[in-house]
Amino acid sequence: MKPAEKEEESVYKRVVLKNASPYQYMKICLVLEDESTRLSAVELKLFIISGLRNLYGEVGAALNFDLLKYDEDTLTAFLRVTSRGLVKLWSSLTLLGSYQNQACAFRVLQVSSFLLSLTGNSRDLQLD
């Protein structure tokens, strides 16, 4: 291959996903009964893993997911999970109902296979 072509390749990078995309991204928000409770990022991840373990056992707890970003004030987090694990992770989030003996609920705000799509929500737009 000529070096010039190589350079061009590096300028334009075209990504074609032949299969389903490898990751899914979720934007979630934790709603707690006592709104003054604060969680750290580590506590949140442990809580989600405990939910996975409750529903799917050790195999579920081994599911590979990442907490990309977490805002402690609004309890909003971005999760990245492999596409295969989305249904498992989502259902365990749905069935999580209590955190340290207080009622809680995960509100799944957005799910997308592209992280960029989570920057805006078309449902929050108002038609003029």
């Binding site: 709603v31 749905t94 069935l95 109902g97 609920a105 449902r123 929050d124 737009l125 038609l127």
Partner: protein
């Protein structure tokens, strides 16, 4: 696609908590909820069938559904828990005050009767105990032919891990027999934090053994079918909806011919809130 509905929100005497639940449902994107009055007759003494509280007494200003800018629709529903065939009285006048009528049979014989004979809209599947009977194909097919639907509620699964096991077991048993047709998923929530969004419920449907399409139908178009079935129950045999077809008034046509600045689609802007 038809709108999302949650046809089971448990009635509580505490008005403010019920109002919070309805507001949360609207915020999550449900376009209709049904307030459920549970009636459990015991053989000892005669009990009164509850009368529904009028919606406008219950809540003055109906909250707006998220993303639809339309107020939520609130219905009344009665669930009769049957342990004896005398508990369900067909054509009882008290049943007419309710928009939806459901039964929860507790034995195989009653389940068969509910599927084949009773004039109801919904048959509740118990999720708090192991099923005392097997689902047989014949009554379930009969129910599907008559347009009666089966309901699985999920909030017990959120509350307790044993209940979760029973919910999943009973739901998968049902799905094996009915193949995902005529099933609705509803919350049976008592508190706002027990409600889940429509897409969460769809995903939960996959766990119960529904296919992707059936799971979505279980919170949307099957629920619509239930409401229409309930209306046919009140009338003679059927209902017809008519809507005005769009007619262009002469004034409008002129407006269209103007080389207007109306070519651009409606502008969108972020909500102020």
């Amino acid at each position: 696609m038809s709108v999302f509905m949650d046809l089971n929100v448990v009635y509580s005497a505490d008005r403010s908590s019920l109002r919070t639940v309805i507001e949360t449902a609207a915020h999550l994107g449900f376009s209709a909820v049904a307030i459920n009055y549970v009636f459990e007759p015991t053989s000892k003494k005669k009990q009164e069938i509850p009368t529904p509280v009028k919606i406008n007494e219950l809540i003055d200003q109906l909250p707006v559904v998220q993303g639809r800018s339309r107020p939520i629709r609130v219905l009344n529903r009665l669930t009769v828990v049957m342990s004896d065939s005398s508990h369900f009285r067909p054509n009882a006048a008290e049943y007419r005050c309710f928009d939806l009528l459901a039964v929860q049979p507790t034995s195989e014989k009653l389940f068969h009767a509910a599927c084949m004979l009773y004039d109801v809209d919904i048959i509740c599947i118990s999720v708090t105990e192991k099923l005392p009977f097997f689902f047989k194909r014949a009554p379930i097919n009969g129910a599907i032919d008559r347009g009666v639907v089966f309901e699985v509620s999920y909030s017990a699964a959120i509350r307790d891990s044993t209940m979760r096991r029973y919910t999943i077991t009973n739901a998968t048993c049902l799905m094996e027999s009915c193949k995902g047709k005529n099933v609705i998923l509803s919350s049976a929530a008592e508190k706002a934090l027990e409600l889940r969004g429509p897409y969460d419920v769809t995903n939960l449907g996959l766990l119960f053994g529904l296919s992707d399409g059936d799971a979505k139908e279980a919170v949307s178009s099957t629920c619509r079918a239930v409401l229409l079935h309930a209306e046919t129950r009140k009338t003679a045999s059927g209902i017809i909806y008519t809507t005005n077809s769009q007619q262009e008034a002469p004034g409008q046509q002129e407006a269209l011919q103007e080389p207007a600045d109306c070519e651009a689609p409606a502008a969108k802007r972020a909500k102020a809130t």
